[in-house]
Each structure stands twice: as structure tokens, then as C-alpha cells.
């Protein structure tokens, strides 16, 4: 029985979640009895040293990875009870992704890359591309619509990735190390953009990072260590000086 009762403010709730990776006989526990909550309209950071399970937590809460045990409720959907096909459909409608390596399709233009989530949902190119161009304008680089990713700077690529994450108006945005490939100034620009677009529409934004330069953007910080959430604070943690 799930003791958790979702409220309209709750975006994600994980309860007693376990996850381990198996390589033959070797079993490596990554998440151990994790309890985690993120709210709508907030930017929640998950921080901690490398290998502590941040990215696995992010994968589990957005449904790209199944939990071994426990309950995962995202945007009111109990992912642990859904079939893979339903989870895939859920992701396509409700989750926006921002990756560390951007993961833009190199053979598509910026506008076409932004349109991908809409195309996955079955929206025709004729309708998706104009919407993608609108989002490109909102992230500040309308003139790059026809450029391929290899003609864009790192910051511009991440702006395209942000537009791609938002174009289908998802309620949840998950970001994996969104600034680690960017210089400090560009990183701040990207985070400003994320906070602005996230808060403006009451989305939940969950950011996995160990980039201390951007901790000040967090509304809520969950600190992880050794597969567990150590503490959740409403402000910047004291000394998150983790390194790769």
C-alpha cells in the first residue's frame, strides 16, 4: 500500500526505492531505500559526489529506468505499476529532458531538433517546426533555426536542448548536469533561462549536478551520498566541493 497521497504541488515522490546494477554475479546497489519529493514550480537540485546515484535517481523518477523495489509516483502516475509502453507514452507527453552532452541529432537543424518531441507525439512537421521556431526565439537564438548543431556553440546547443525540452509543454523537466559542458557565464545564462521558463509555467525542474557555481538557483536541494538522500535543505548546502 502506498502511504503517499499526492497533492497538486507534488511533482515527484519516491518511497523506499532500491536500484542495483548486475554484471553477471556482481550486484552493485546504487539506490538504497531512497525517499525523495520534488514540488511543482520549484527547481529541485540533487547534488552529491560522483557515483552516489544522482543520475540513477533521475532516470528512475522520469521512467527511463525501472526501480527494483519501492514506489515511484511522478505527476500523479505510479510508474512502478505501469507497463513499459505506458511509461514511454507518459514520458513523451510529460517529461522534458536536458542532457549533459545535449544529445542533439547532428543531421537535423536546430528547429528540427526542437521539434523532435512533437514529432514523437505524432505532430506533423508542418505544425511542429513553427512551434519549434517560436521556442527558439524564446531561448534567444531565433537566427539559428536552420543551423546544424555542429555550427552552434556549447551554450547555443544547450539553449536548443532547453527549447526541445519545453516545446511540448511538459510538466516535469529533468536536467542532467546541464552546465558541466559550459563555461561559467554561459552556464548562468542557461540556468537563468531554465528558472525563468520553469517557474513561469509552474513546472517542476529537477537538476542533477555537482557544479557549485549554480547551486544558488535551487529552491530545494537534496544531498545524496552512497545511494541515499542524506538531507533535504531549502538552500545551498554548506560545502558541496565534490569533484569528478
Amino acid at each position: 500500500m502506498n502511504p503517499f497521497t499526492p497533492s497538486p504541488e507534488t511533482a515527484v515522490h519516491l518511497s523506499r526505492v532500491d536500484k542495483a546494477f548486475r554484471h553477471g554475479d556482481l550486484v552493485t546497489p546504487i539506490l538504497k531505500q531512497v525517499e525523495f519529493t520534488a514540488r511543482m514550480g520549484e527547481m529541485t537540485f540533487v547534488v552529491g559526489p560522483s557515483g552516489c546515484g544522482k543520475t540513477t535517481l533521475l532516470s528512475v523518477l522520469c521512467g527511463t529506468l525501472d526501480a527494483d523495489a519501492g514506489e515511484v509516483t511522478t505527476l500523479g502516475h505510479a510508474l512502478h505499476q505501469m507497463s513499459p509502453a505506458h511509461i514511454t507514452r507518459f514520458r513523451s507527453r510529460n517529461v522534458g529532458f536536458i542532457f549533459q552532452q545535449f544529445n542533439l541529432l547532428p543531421t537535423l537543424t536546430a528547429a528540427e531538433n526542437i521539434a523532435v518531441p512533437l514529432r514523437i507525439q505524432g505532430v506533423s512537421a508542418g505544425k511542429a517546426i513553427p512551434r519549434a521556431r517560436e521556442w527558439l526565439a524564446r531561448v534567444g537564438i531565433p537566427e539559428k533555426a536552420n543551423e546544424r548543431p555542429n555550427r552552434l556553440s556549447g551554450g547555443q546547443q544547450q539553449r536548443v536542448a532547453i527549447a526541445r525540452a519545453l516545446v511540448h509543454e511538459p510538466a516535469l523537466i529533468v536536467c542532467d548536469e546541464p552546465t558541466s559542458a559550459l563555461d561559467s557565464a554561459t552556464g548562468h545564462q542557461v540556468m537563468d533561462l531554465l528558472r525563468e521558463t520553469g517557474r513561469a509555467s509552474q513546472r517542476a525542474v529537477i537538476v542533477v549536478t555537482h557544479d557549485p557555481r549554480i547551486y544558488s538557483y535551487a529552491d530545494c536541494v537534496a544531498q545524496m551520498e552512497d545511494g541515499r538522500i542524506l538531507r533535504v535543505t531549502a538552500s545551498v548546502p554548506d560545502a558541496p566541493h565534490s569533484t569528478h
Binding site: R91, S92, Q101, N103, P106, E112, I120
Partner: protein, 379 residues
């Protein structure tokens, strides 16, 4: 989504060119192998292509067109006496040696002796001269290629009206015909049956075939059966004789193995090069495909995308390959090379290419279904 797949495919031009080249090369090899196969089969019944008759009567021991077992001269009349036979004519097919009147090396040829009254079995494509001039003394109609070979090998260009020696007897060219090439590149020389008896090495029996035709209202097959039944000889329709010769070639020569090897290598190259390249293409795009999966692309959508990519590669590669081979065949001198591009060949090759592309695509789809979308979070 399929247009995104196509953009991924066309975007990597080098890989796309390699994929198409693999399919194109496989198409060329398989087309060439099959064309060679049918071309050589055509050689096996070139006699029937050059000497047209509805019914062929041969010795019962004959197994293929090149097997000239002698018949008795009286067999012609025995065939004529069968009910349903409109006409029957003697035919001699044997080997001879040609030489210029001035001497020199000899040129092997296929000597055909036709019935002087009916000229049944005469070549239908005469380039120069008249078939009726065969009734003149020492006259022969020669294969156009015979003249070319004599010119090329003996240094003298023979023409209409010129004479040469055939088995030490004088022969005068009264016609030049265009005929299909036989096995071992033999050229054809036509004369009357009576005259062929003089040209050919002396034998007790000089009749090798009887050509016949059914009377109006009778089919070739039923008349052939009646001839076989009543004479004890082997009577075959032209189509049956061709099939029998081709079948003999299939089971008694190494040609099927050679051609099978070429076609097999083509298939393996297609499967190997295209399959491996396409699979590598998918592997290299694992991260992108993982990103699409993470963003909500279902396995079915990605499978359709990959099948479309494989289909496009197959169609373009096949089209190029068939185009190249068609151009190549068009440049070949007619009837010389043992290559025949029947309409069935592209169909067979298309089926093989479809199998290659489907196999490749299924392997790649299997790979894609195993991609974990969470892979995109790994640095």
C-alpha cells in the same frame, strides 16, 4: 518520425554511400551471375535457336542438343508416314574445319545440312545474300562471326561470293546470317543436306536429326508423342528439346556450381558489407536513438524508422546496381557474351536484396529494442 530517420541516414553521407555501395555491388554480382547462368543455358540450346522447327526427332539415346547421334536415312520417311505430320525434313549437324584457299591454319565450325527442297531449319536472320542461293553449286551460308574470326585469325576478310575450303572441299559464300553463338564459340555454316554429306567426314549414317511439323489441327506435343510411339525414335517439341538440353547442362556440367558460387558470394557480400555497415551505423547512433527513446519514441516507431532506412538503402542500391548492369549489357555485342538479362533476373535479385535488407534491419531493430533510454544520462 520516418523523415527524421531518413535525415539521419542521408546526413552521414559517407556511411550512406557505403551502405548503398554494398547493396549495389551485391546486386551487380548477383545479376551478373544469374545473367551468366541463363546465358550459358542459352548456349546449350543454341542449335534450336538457330535452326527453327516445331518438332525435332533424334536418336533415343540423345540427351541434349549437342549430342548428334546418327539416324538411318529411312527414318525421314518413317516420320513422314506418321499421321498428323505435315512435313518432315532431314538435317545434318556436325563438325568441320574451314581453311582459306591459300592454305594456313584451320578454323573449327558447326556444319548444318538442310533439306534442299524445303530448306527447313534455315537461319531466319540473313544479313546479306539469299537462302535460296544455297541451291547453287558449292554454296554455303555462313555465320557473320565466322567471317570475323577468319578475318581476325587468318588475316583475310572474306565476303559474299568469296570461296574457302571446308574439309578440303571448295565452298562459296552466298549468304551471311546472324545466329546465336553456340558452346565453345563454334560458328555456323549452313548448306544443303546432300552437300553436307560431301563436306563432312565420311560416315555410314549422315542423318542426325529429322525436323517435322504438325498438320493443321494437331498440336506439336501430340504429334511428337505419335512419332515417338510409332517410330521408336525420340521426338520432342522445340521447347522440350531446349528444356532437356538445359537440364542436361545443369546436372552434367560445373556451370551451376560456378554460377551458384558467384551468386552466393554476391549475397554474402551484400549481407556482410551492407549488414555490417548498417549495424555499425545503428551502433554509432545508439546515443541518439537512446535520446529518442528517452523522449518517448516507442520501439515500434524506431523499428519503422530503421526499416525505412534499410528499405531506402535497398531500393537505391538495387536500382543503381541494375542500372549499371543494364548499361553494361547494352554495351555488349549482341549474342557474343554468355550473358542474358531476362526480366526474371532483377526480380530474383530484388528478392535477395530484400532479404538482405530485412535481415539487416531486423538485426538493427533487435539492437535498438535493447537500448536503455537511460543510456543518454551517461557522460
Amino acid at each position: 518520425m520516418t523523415d527524421i530517420g531518413l535525415r539521419m541516414l542521408f546526413g552521414d553521407r559517407a556511411k550512406y554511400a557505403m551502405l548503398v555501395s554494398g547493396v549495389c555491388f551485391a546486386t551487380i554480382l548477383m545479376t551478373q551471375g544469374l545473367a551468366l547462368f541463363f546465358g550459358i543455358l542459352g548456349f546449350s540450346y543454341a542449335t534450336m535457336t538457330n535452326i527453327r522447327a516445331p518438332i525435332w526427332v533424334v536418336d533415343p539415346l540423345v540427351q541434349q542438343a549437342g549430342d548428334n547421334q546418327p539416324l538411318r536415312d529411312t527414318d525421314v520417311n518413317r516420320v513422314r508416314s506418321v499421321e498428323g505430320v505435315a512435313w518432315a525434313a532431314p538435317l545434318y549437324v556436325g563438325n568441320a574445319q574451314a581453311r582459306l584457299l591459300t592454305g594456313g591454319a584451320t578454323q573449327p565450325l558447326m556444319l548444318v545440312g538442310l533439306d534442299a527442297d524445303t530448306l527447313a531449319g534455315a537461319p531466319t536472320k540473313l544479313v546479306e545474300g539469299s537462302i535460296h542461293d544455297l541451291r547453287q553449286p558449292d554454296s554455303v551460308v555462313v555465320d557473320a562471326r565466322f567471317l570475323e574470326m577468319m578475318g581476325a585469325l587468318r588475316g583475310v576478310q572474306l565476303k559474299l561470293g568469296d570461296a574457302f575450303e571446308m574439309n578440303d572441299r571448295r565452298a562459296v559464300i552466298v549468304g551471311i546470317a546472324k545466329v546465336a553463338q553456340g558452346m565453345a564459340g563454334a560458328t555456323y555454316v549452313f548448306t544443303t543436306w546432300d552437300r553436307a554429306r560431301h563436306y563432312a567426314p565420311a560416315q555410314r549414317r549422315m542423318l542426325t536429326h529429322v525436323l517435322a511439323s504438325p498438320a493443321p489441327g494437331k498440336t506439336e506435343a501430340e504429334v511428337a508423342q505419335a512419332i515417338s510411339r510409332q517410330t521408336g525414335l525420340r521426338a520432342l517439341t522445340e521447347a522440350e528439346f531446349k528444356r532437356m538440353s538445359a537440364r542436361w547442362m545443369l546436372f552434367n556440367s560445373p556451370i551451376p556450381y560456378v554460377v551458384g558460387l558467384i551468386v552466393g558470394i554476391g549475397f554474402i557480400i551484400g549481407l556482410g558489407v551492407s549488414g555490417q555497415t548498417f549495424y555499425t551505423f545503428v551502433l554509432e547512433n545508439t546515443r541518439q536513438l537512446g535520446a529518442l527513446k528517452a523522449m518517448g519514441a516507442s520501439n515500434l516507431k524506431l523499428a519503422l524508422m530503421i526499416m525505412t532506412q534499410a528499405g531506402i538503402v535497398g531500393v537505391v542500391g538495387f536500382g543503381l546496381g541494375v542500372g549499371v548492369m543494364s548499361g553494361f549489357f547494352a554495351m555488349l555485342p549482341e549474342g557474343r557474351a554468355p550473358l542474358v538479362l531476362l526480366w526474371q533476373i532483377p526480380v530474383i535479385v530484388l528478392i535477395a536484396i530484400t532479404l538482405i535488407c530485412m535481415g539487416t534491419a531486423l538485426l538493427s531493430v533487435w539492437r535498438v529494442t535493447r537500448i536503455e533510454p537511460a543510456i543518454v544520462f551517461r557522460a
